[in-house]
Amino acid sequence: MVETELAGLEQAITQITRELARQPSAEGMSYYYELAGRSLDPGYLREAKAQGKKVVGTFCTLVPEELVLAAGAVPVRLCSGFGATITRTEGTCPASLCPLVKSSYGLWLSTPPIAAQCDVVAVPTTCDAKKKLAELLSDRVPVWLVQVPSTKESTEARRAWGRQIVLLKQQLENLTGRRIGRKALRTAIAICNQKRAALRRLYELRKEARIWGRDALLVADTSFHDDPVQWTRQTDALCAEIAQRDNVQQAAANLPRLLLTGSPVVFPTWKLPMLVEESGGIIVADDICTGAKALWDPAYVTESSLAGMLEAIGERALSITCPCFAPSTARLNRLVQLSRDFRVDGILYHVLRGCHLYGMEAQAAEDRFRELALPTLRVETDYSLEDTEQLRTRVEAFVEMLSARKLE
């Protein structure tokens, strides 16, 4: 990778982590700031490579991590949040394309260590942009297209997904030369479930506003770039710390509580969480892919046979409430449940420009929230920082509106 380019990206990271570190929710956050700082060259990937392990790059949340771990490989999510890498994609990607995909492709073209270390990239066919990204990447790295059904409701769709899981298992076994047996799968499921449990425990503390949203979202985001066991341990330590500390809870006592939903907010484009919390609100819950969406439910094993465990893993992946599935009832139900459980005052619906999946669900979501007497602020933006002031105007007005209602 060109040195200056890498330096530029690292500077973007440092800028954000420094800002976050000025008012951290807890001391334990320093681990995550450091982790985020190394997101172009994660330590655990280097170690894995040194041990001769294979690295499987993924996008989205629908590639079951358990399978990768059970095969003895190491997963890493490649969804990029760098605005600077988008310029590289002019000509290849249409200007109106989702910035996440453009940024990820641009990042790949710059070949940072995180990309160079991938032996294969597994891309789920969730949205059109990702599908075509897979095609673009296949010129540079072996790509596995993981076929995700467009609906979860039909038996045929679930059966097809089940077959895809088996295929993925075989592909992984061929990659690592290691058979995925029951014991390996059981261990991998346990590791991943523990990771999810740690996140749920963190979110329980978010109900009491014990951690700023900008920090909690970073904790969740970094889980995709770290060794799962290590991350779980650190997150449990963080939970133990913030359960004792009152600083955030007291500061956030009367602030409007927001639910963040919609297109993912990917580090280091952190303007939205920062804006919200600078404007006097606190994000207490979310269902974004870089946040709780992928880590909410555990893999529920009903049959401890190999096929049973594969089924459990597959169905868990399918239970992720992504708008790539039609109908979107599951996602709307999840949003309603979250707004109730986390006692939110308003919803921040974030749509990345070009993201039609989230864009088209916005009205339905807003209508559903209106039934609960919850106002929604729709924010359409991209990775550039130019519209920060305009976003600030809207967010401030929204937070003020929520505060006034809260005072009554």
Binding site: E389, T393, E396, A397, E400, M401, A404
Partner: protein, 261 residues
């Protein structure tokens, strides 16, 4: 008790000073490039006319694009909240507040208690804003402040769809070349603005009473066109441009009140 509200827009900065809750003085000046210095000076002059100084001010609340540039301030608020509060006072019973400023359109729907229930902001491009109307009228050789009167004289208003402030200029020139009158073109532009604002208001409910504030509210053609587009009467306060600053000043007043009591 002396408090001040400052609405720092990108073209104009508005001041309202309240003494014991009543409007004591107000002032509109061009924002210019002096930034904070210009604001300080104007404020000092305004206070002097009341026989007071900056030290006598018990609270300053700012809103508008440059709200954080006026130091020191006690609180910043969004224009949405400020305009809503100000409109409610000058027109009690206001349920829809439309703020047409130089660089943005803000519409808020208020509940029966006068609190903002929902809002919409259009400020990513200049289409439909005061700036747009100013550029267009200058392109037609009409002084922006006269544009309203000229538009009201139109016999056959043009139907204009595109409202891009940059490309609109060339469109206007081509219309003139086709022999369209200034009055008709201006009326068409005003209609386009009215349609845009009306659609924002309708999406939020458009409930009576509908109040128009902001600099553009001084344009009589815009008011008439809006009433037509909304199908309901539109009230314009006597001083529409300072309503935002008034709202900010009222918030300053309640800040002092809550500190005391």
């Amino acid at each position: 008790m002396l408090v001040c509200g400052v609405d720092v827009g990108c073209m104009f900065t508005k001041f309202v000073i309240l003494r014991d809750g009543e409007v004591a003085a107000q002032h509109i000046m061009e924002s210019g490039v002096d930034g904070a210095a210009g604001v300080d000076e104007a404020l000092a002059q305004l206070l002097a006319s009341l026989g007071a100084t900056r030290a006598d001010l018990q609270a300053v609340v700012t809103c508008g694009l440059g709200r954080r540039s006026v130091e020191p301030f006690d609180k910043v608020v969004s224009e949405v909240s400020a305009c809503a509060g100000g409109a409610r006072v000058v027109c009690p019973g206001a349920r829809t507040v439309m703020d047409l400023g130089a660089h943005g359109i803000r519409v808020a729907a208020l509940d029966e208690r006068g609190r903002v229930a929902s809002f919409d902001i259009s400020d990513k491009c200049a289409s439909g804003t005061g700036c747009f109307l100013d550029i267009m009228s200058r392109a037609l050789g009409v002084e922006p402040l006269e544009a309203g009167k000229v538009a009201l004289c139109a016999k056959n208003p043009e139907h204009i769809e595109s409202m891009c402030a940059v490309f609109g200029e060339s469109e206007v020139v081509s219309l003139v070349a086709r022999g369209k009158s200034r009055e008709d073109i201006l009326a068409g532009l005003v209609d386009a603005v009215a349609r845009r604002v009306a659609s924002m208001a309708k999406r939020l409910g458009g409930q009576q009473e509908v109040v128009l504030v902001g600099g553009v509210a001084k344009n009589p053609a815009v008011v008439t066109a809006l009433e037509r587009a909304l199908g309901s009467p539109v009230r314009v306060p006597d001083e529409p441009q300072t309503v935002g600053a008034l709202g900010a000043a009222l918030i300053a007043h309640s800040l002092v009140g809550s500190k005391a009591g």
